[in-house]
Amino acid sequence: MIEQVDTVKRQKRMADLRDKRHKAEVRFRRIGVAAVSVGLIFLTVLFGVVLASGLSAFKQTYVQIDVAVDAEGDNYQGMVKRGLREYFPEVKKRRDKRKLYALVSSEAPYRLKALVEENPGYRGKAVSLWVRAGADVDMFVKGEISRALPEDERRLKDRQIAWVDSLEDDGRVETRFNWHFFTSGDSREPELAGIAVAVLGSLFSLLVCLALSFPLGVLTAVYLEELATRNRWTDFIEVNINNLAAVPSIVFGLLGLAVFLNVFELPRSAPMVGGMVLALMTLPTIIITGRAALKAVPPSIREAALAVGASPLQAVFHHVLPLAMPGVLTGTIIGTARALGETAPLLMIGMVAFVVDLPETILSPATALPVQVFLWADSPERGFEERTAAAILILLAFTILMNLTAVLLRKKYEIRW
C-alpha cells in the first residue's frame, strides 16, 4: 500500500515538473516573439510617422491673385499688396492688412517681377497669376492646421481662415505637385525651402568619397589578402583597420577639422572635404568586405594562373580580382550607403550652413541631405516639420535603393564555388 501511494505521489510530482518545464518553454518562446515584435513594431511606427508627416510636403498650395501692374516703377511688392487689398476691400486695419499679406508667400513679388520682365506688354494692365501660398495657409489647406483648434493656439487666425475660404469658393486655391522642393536651395520661409543644394552636396561628397575610397580600399585589400607576407607590419595594419571601423564617426569629423581645414586650409563647407572625411570612414568597410570577397575565390584560380606563367600580380589583377569584383562592389555600395547617412562628421567641417545657391563645383559651399534634415528639424516653424520628414523620405529612398542594388548585385553575380 505504502509503495503504491509513493508511486502515485511521484508520478504527480513528475507531471508537475513536466508541466512547469513546458510552461517555462512557452514563456521563453513568447519572450522571443515579443523581442522580435518590438523591433518590427518600432520599424513600422518609424516609417509610419515619417510618411504621415512627410508626404504632404510634396504638395504645395497656390493662390491666384489679380494684380494691376504699374505702367512704370518696380514696386512689385506694393502691387501685390494692392492686389490683395482690392480683392478684400473690407480689410482696413494695419494689423489685419499684415495678416492679409501673409496669405501669399514672400516670393510673390519676385514671381510678378519675372512675369512682367518677360512680357513687358503687361505693364499698365491687370494680370492674374498663381503664386505660392504663405506657409500657414499652405499648412491649413493641406489639413495640417485644424480649424477646430482654439484661435490663440493656431498660427492661422479666424479672419485669415475666412479669407482662405472665400478664395477657395472662388476657385482661387489649388494644390499642385511641389517641384520647387526638388529644384531650390534652403530658405528661411518653409514654403520656399528645397533640397536641391543638399542632394547635390551629398552627390558631390559621395563622388569624392568613392573616387578616393574605392581604389584605395580595393588596392589595400588586394595587398593584404593576396600579396603581403604576414609579418608584424601587416598584422599591425590589420588590427588598425579593424579598430578604425569602430571609431565613432564624430572623431573622423574632428580629424577633418584639424587636418583638412586647419592644416591644409581647404575651404569650409565644401563637399570635397566632406567626401574626403567620408572616404576615410568608408575605407575600413571596403577593405574588410573586399578581403572577404578575395578570400572566397578558390586557390585553384591563382594556382592555374601562376602555373601558366603569370606573375603574382598578373594572377591577382587578371584573374582573382575580376572574379571577386561583385563582392567588392557590394561592400562598396553598402559602405557608400552608410556614408550617405552620416551627419556628425559633416557638422564638424562646416557643411552645416545656410546655402541658397546650388553648388557648382566640389569646392563651393553646400550641405548634405542628412545635415539638411538636422537643420530643418531644429527650425521651430510648423512648415519645416513636413519638409524635414520629406527630406528623410528622400534620404531613406536613396539608402534603400543603394542597399537593394547591393543585394541584387550579390544575388545576380555572386559565384558560389
Binding site: 518590438v38 583597420i241 565613432p248 572623431v251 574632428l254 600580380l313 547617412g341
Partner: protein, 317 residues
C-alpha cells in the same frame, strides 16, 4: 625578387620594373589606414595639449561643473568657463545604460528566437527586416526621438503625475537602444550558430526542452562572443552623436534620473564646434579634449571586444 631568369642576368625587365612600381603603390595604399589613425591621434593629442595648458588636466577629468561659456572679451562677467567633464561622462553613461538595457535583452532574445525557433520562411522575412533598423541613418532616429518619442513620454509622464523633461535621457536612450538591436542580434546570432550542433543535439537527446538547451548549453558556450558583441555595441552607443544632439539636452546636469535632461560628450563636441570658432580659445579646444577622451574609451572597448571575439572564434574552428 623575380629576375629575368632566361638569360641568367640580374637586369630587371620592363615587366619587373612595372610590377615593382605597382607593388610600391599597393603598399602605399595600405598605409593610408595607418596614416588615418596617426592623423586622428596626432590632431586630438595636439589640440588637447593646447587645451591642457589652459585648463589643468585634473580639473578636466574630475571637475563636477561643465559650462564652457568663456567670455569673448576679457572684461566680461563670468569670463572663466568651467571644464569639468564628469557631468558629461555621467550623462553619456546614463543614456548608454538605457540604450543597452533595451538592445541587450531585446537583441539577445530576438537572435535566439530567430536562430532556434523561427521557421525558415519567418526567418527569411524577419532577419532582413530587423537589419533595416541598422541601415537607417541616425539623423532619422534623432528626428523620430525628438518629434515622436519625447512628446509621447512627456504626455505619458504627465498622465501619471511624473514630470518628464522634453529632452529626457529616456527618450534618447530608448531610441538609441532600438537602433542597436540589429547590432546585438547579429553578433549574438553569429555566436549562437558557432556553437557546434553536437552540443545542442546532446542536450536535446538528454531530454532537455529547447529553452533549457538554449539557456544551459548554447548561451554559456556562446557567452564570450555575446560579451564581445555587447562591448562593441557599448562603444557604438557611446560614440553615437545625432540621436543625442537632436533628442538630449545641451546643459550639463549631474543626475542619474532618466526623466531629466542630460548632455553627452558627443553633444558637447558638436555644440562647441558648430558655428563660428576661434582656434585659440579654451572653449573650442575643449572639444578636442573631449574627442580624445571619446577616442581612448571607445578604442579600449574595441580592442578588448575584438580580442574576445577573435579568441572565442578560434576555439571551435
Amino acid at each position: 625578387m623575380p629576375r629575368n631568369r632566361v638569360f641568367g642576368t640580374s637586369i630587371p625587365t620592363r615587366k619587373v620594373i612595372v610590377e615593382r612600381m605597382v607593388m610600391g603603390l599597393l603598399i602605399a595604399c595600405s598605409t593610408v589606414a595607418v596614416l588615418t589613425t596617426i592623423g586622428i591621434v596626432l590632431s586630438l593629442v595636439f589640440e588637447s595639449f593646447l587645451f591642457f595648458r589652459k585648463v589643468p588636466i585634473t580639473d578636466f577629468l574630475f571637475g563636477l561643473q561643465w559650462s564652457p561659456q568663456t567670455a569673448i572679451r576679457a572684461d566680461q562677467v563670468g569670463a572663466s568657463g568651467a571644464f569639468g567633464a564628469i557631468p558629461l561622462l555621467v550623462g553619456t553613461a546614463l543614456i548608454s545604460a538605457i540604450a543597452l538595457s533595451v538592445s541587450g535583452p531585446v537583441g539577445l532574445y530576438a537572435a535566439i528566437y530567430i536562430a532556434e525557433y523561427a521557421s525558415p520562411r519567418f526567418r527569411a522575412v524577419v532577419k532582413p527586416a530587423l537589419e533595416v533598423l541598422a541601415g537607417i541613418p541616425t539623423v532619422v532616429y534623432g528626428f523620430f526621438a525628438a518629434l515622436f518619442v519625447a512628446p509621447l513620454l512627456r504626455q505619458g509622464g504627465e498622465s501619471i503625475g511624473l514630470a518628464v523633461s522634453s529632452e529626457s535621457a529616456l527618450a534618447a536612450g530608448l531610441v538609441m537602444g532600438v537602433m542597436t538591436i540589429p547590432f546585438v542580434s547579429s553578433i549574438t546570432d553569429d555566436a549562437i550558430t558557432a556553437v557546434p550542433s553536437a552540443l545542442k543535439e546532446g542536450a536535446l537527446g538528454m531530454g532537455a526542452t529547447r529553452s533549457e538547451m538554449v539557456r544551459q548549453v548554447v548561451l554559456p558556450a556562446a557567452l564570450p562572443g555575446i560579451a564581445g558583441g555587447m562591448l562593441l555595441a557599448t562603444s557604438r552607443v557611446i560614440g553615437e552623436t545625432m540621436i543625442v544632439v537632436m533628442a538630449a539636452g545641451l546643459t550639463a546636469n549631474l543626475t542619474i534620473n532618466p526623466l531629466e535632461a542630460v548632455t553627452t560628450v558627443t553633444v558637447q563636441i558638436v555644440t562647441l564646434l558648430t558655428g563660428d570658432q576661434e582656434f585659440d580659445s579654451a572653449k573650442t579646444l575643449s572639444a578636442f579634449a573631449l574627442g580624445l577622451l571619446l577616442f581612448v574609451v571607445t578604442l579600449i572597448l574595441n580592442v578588448i571586444a575584438l580580442k574576445i571575439v577573435k579568441t572565442y572564434r578560434e576555439q571551435y574552428d
